[in-house]
Subunit: 522 residues, 2 copies
């Protein structure tokens, strides 16, 4: 789902952590942790006395997934009703950075001279998704990627024929293509030829998530699907056989029932804005600076599914971000150390890979640099960084941030030895960034958990038809899900910027197609 | 629940990993990953035509939690029926190392001169349980610890008045008390005065889990509770109001129904033996050498709860073990390095803390030592260790295990500098173990994920009455749970050896008391 009626606050709940911006600035629309949502999902045990309205397919939540589901179901001839809690719709899709992750040889990839195949894309995505990645779901995601490119282009999204070389967490200048993940890291180059797959969308004179959602919304309107705004779905209605046959929603202060003759599609987002659920499933993220999404990410869709016996998958898994290059690419020339003063990652890695390591393992993190690097950072970028210590020697810098001087000195000395040869045998950072840190003063920037941003990637268990599964891996009759509401592509790790939007559209489309093809209960 | 009818295999599914034994040898009864269990939990939607039998309280699973629940429910005047899938019962409790984690000033702690209080115990347990620890459940666990000591003593368990000084993962000589967690690590000394709380149980001339379960079983028999063996519970029966009113079980090839007038208590273990569920919730553990528990840990109890809409809590969380001192205490004089050749932990830390770091973050691990340490290791212990490389210099050793020589050399040099002063400022290892590594040949022992052992700690969400909660945090009427089937004390981390048994007994007792006090549906 998408924004609450209140304007989401952009102020971190931990004001002292200005460093949060380093991680979060790359991610549009990060919002504070909200309390538990108002949604009160319960499995209804009987049929309501009166249905307010009926449709073949009822879609819960009008973000990217819900829009894609509605478009496909309508195109397949089904009558569609979308119930959306906000007055406008949009969800996280509308506030995302505007990148869609697609590959396998898109027209844009080819035009810019990059080779890619479905299998090459699969090899990267599957490896980058890490432990728990699902061969079938990742395979499907890659199978449909070229078709998705055509689909979004048909809807009116465009991609400028320009490639952005710079290491960045977005496409500020509106370039059409960039490396948005870890494709060029040694670990992944070993399994797949690097290809840029982050497609920066452009539509109606705008870039970013609003441009994407604008085209989706226009297509929904053209499809004939009906959208009811300010309708907060609270529970699923199941019949005596356990089939989901509709929903209960609060609209203008009244509880009303909406019948779904073929099925209900839950596209109600993740749960990053629900502090109680975060505490229950991924409690370390309570310390993250911000969550990426909208207050509608309160887990109501996941809980509605759980309430009718749906299974969950990697429910505590998150995408957690800390972009070293979020403020400026030159910061890749720094070293990132943990609370023991050790390096733990190549600093030019994708921000999710780094953020995940900080939250999962290190908790404390500092970016250590010298004045040569610091003077390369644009002034505007400096404002988003938190300098926690500055000193004329590395040992003094260590003392200033509570580290053992001998250890940080050793870390810097070893790194400088490597840098003398322009190589990082420890973590394989790109040689371009491996330069000695030796010009005082030295700086330490805050890069701990409290500077990270997150959203949830775990959710309801679905199959390749976007059917929601129960604990026997059997479909819950009449129930479908897509988007952050369900687990699909990211597993142990998030794969690259733009994957969420691509996944949301891919599995939303599948859910709409499957539900429309359902024989139905009416 | 407990063992299947087949004898559990003790052979690791990855035979090349002899090193597994280093982690697992301390843990009795580790078994291989089994396939998905036969249990097929479903929420029954109607009442059965005929009840085979009825009781006030039906307990699913006769391990430690089920036994404790049955004893308390019987003592409170309820009629109790235990359904157990194996011919003998016992569960993981019967195959555990025999340590029960208790404190707050037990008679044994006092007799051996150790001071402890409820609050001191709470401070350690809450901190050690890490992110996600529940103040109320941990508080209750500590509130009831002294009473638990009296309770198990009344049942006939004894504790020898001897303290084991040595760093070990068990009490091979039958000592009554030991430090079984991380109480003496600097991080935890900062929040609680160290006190040993691992109580090694002794009963009927035996030590270990069988001694503990023997006394529990005798008490169950004396209580008047009925036990049906070889009865595999497959689903819960719920009435039209959603109240759990009984179970369906397969017994002698037939499905029969058992009515529970007051409630059903799920004590059916964790899910470490169910590879499908491990893949779904904690996929990194598919690479662990062994799981600790029985083939009955197939998650059937958790799935039965999910099937009726129960919520789960930190479901992907595990206790994962790699004991550096599992084979011999002197191995704490080694250094443990990750795949980059860096140290990442004080080597004398509790094995769960280390194992968890390996599985969660490092994947690869090697224990690096010199000949001075190696010659201290008893021959018998050497058999359980996997030497993956041996060399006359640290640089050659590094090359032998695929690490960058300069990095491992640097790690050893820095460590040796510290050792010259007998101090480990990096990770605060006990000075007794901080000695230079300088006598060739040098050895590398395998300590990666494939050498770890695990069990699951996530499970159904319960409250302080052991009532199972739904997604609104409301009790599922008539449903209770305890033991590995439910989340209680361990959160981000396991706390110390003996915590599982203590938790199982504490919350099993509470579940039995609550269910017996229930007004009932009959």
């Amino acid at each position: 789902m998408s924004q609450e009626k209140e304007t989401p606050s952009k102020i971190s709940r931990r004001e002292f952590v200005k460093g949060a911006v380093a991680g979060a600035s790359a991610l549009t629309g990060a919002s504070v942790l909200a309390g538990c949502g108002q949604a009160a999902p319960v499995p209804a045990t009987g049929m309501p006395e009166e249905w307010e309205k009926e449709a073949d397919v009822v879609v819960v939540g009008f973000g990217g997934a819900g829009a894609a589901a509605a478009i496909e179901a309508s195109r397949a001839g089904a009558s569609v009703l979308i119930l959306e809690r906000t007055p406008t719709g949009g969800g996280s899709t509308a506030i995302c950075g505007g990148i869609i992750y697609m590959g396998g040889g898109t027209a844009l990839q080819s035009a810019l001279g990059f080779e890619d195949t479905r299998d090459n894309m699969y090899n990267y995505v599957f490896a980058a998704a890490g432990d728990g990645a699902d061969e079938e779901l990742v395979g499907l995601f890659c199978d449909r990627s070229l078709e998705l490119y055509d689909w979004v282009t048909d809807l009116g999204m465009q991609f400028n024929e320009s490639f952005m070389e710079m290491k960045a967490a977005g496409v500020p200048a509106g370039d059409g293509l960039l490396y948005s993940g870890n494709e060029k890291q040694a670990k992944y180059k070993a399994v797949a030829d690097p290809a840029p797959r982050g497609h920066g969308a452009f539509a109606d004179g705008r870039v970013g998530g609003h441009a994407i959602f604008g085209r989706l919304k226009a297509a929904v309107e053209a499809s004939g699907a009906e959208v009811l705004y300010e309708a907060l779905v609270g529970s699923l209605v199941v019949d005596a056989d356990g089939r989901v046959v509709g929903v209960e929603a609060e609209i203008e202060g009244e509880n009303k029932y909406y019948k779904a003759n073929k099925g209900v599609i839950l596209c109600a987002g993740g749960y990053a804005a629900n502090a109680e659920m975060v505490d229950l499933h991924c409690p370390s993220c309570l310390r993250c600076a911000v969550n990426v999404g909208t207050p509608g990410d309160d887990g109501s869709g996941i809980r509605m599914g759980q309430g009718v016996g749906a299974d969950v998958r990697m429910l505590g898994e998150t995408a957690t971000f800390a972009f070293v290059y979020g403020a400026a690419e030159c910061l890749c020339r720094s070293i990132l150390v943990n609370g023991e003063g050790q390096r733990f990652v190549g600093e030019d890695n994708y921000g999710e890979w780094i953020g995940d390591m900080i939250v999962r393992s290190h908790n404390v993190g500092f970016l250590v640099l010298d004045d040569a690097v610091w003077s390369m950072v644009p002034d505007a970028a400096k404002e988003s960084l938190t300098v926690v210590a500055q000193a004329d020697s590395v040992g003094e810098l260590a003392a200033g941030i509570g580290l053992t001087p001998a250890v940080l000195e050793n870390t810097v000395e070893l790194y400088n030895e490597f840098a003398a040869n322009g190589e990082d045998p420890l973590f394989g950072k790109d040689s371009a960034y491996v330069v000695p840190l030796e010009t005082p003063p030295f700086y330490a920037l805050f890069f701990g958990v409290e500077a990270t941003a997150f959203f949830t990637t775990g959710g309801l268990k679905i199959n390749s038809k976007s059917q929601v599964l129960d604990v026997h891996s059997q479909p819950v009759p009449g129930l479908y899900s897509a988007g952050r509401n369900a687990f699909a592509v990211p597993a142990r790790n998030y794969v690259g910027s733009g994957v969420a939007v691509a996944e949301v559209l891919s599995f939303g489309r599948i859910a709409g197609q499957t539900a429309a093809a359902e024989e139905g209960s009416a």
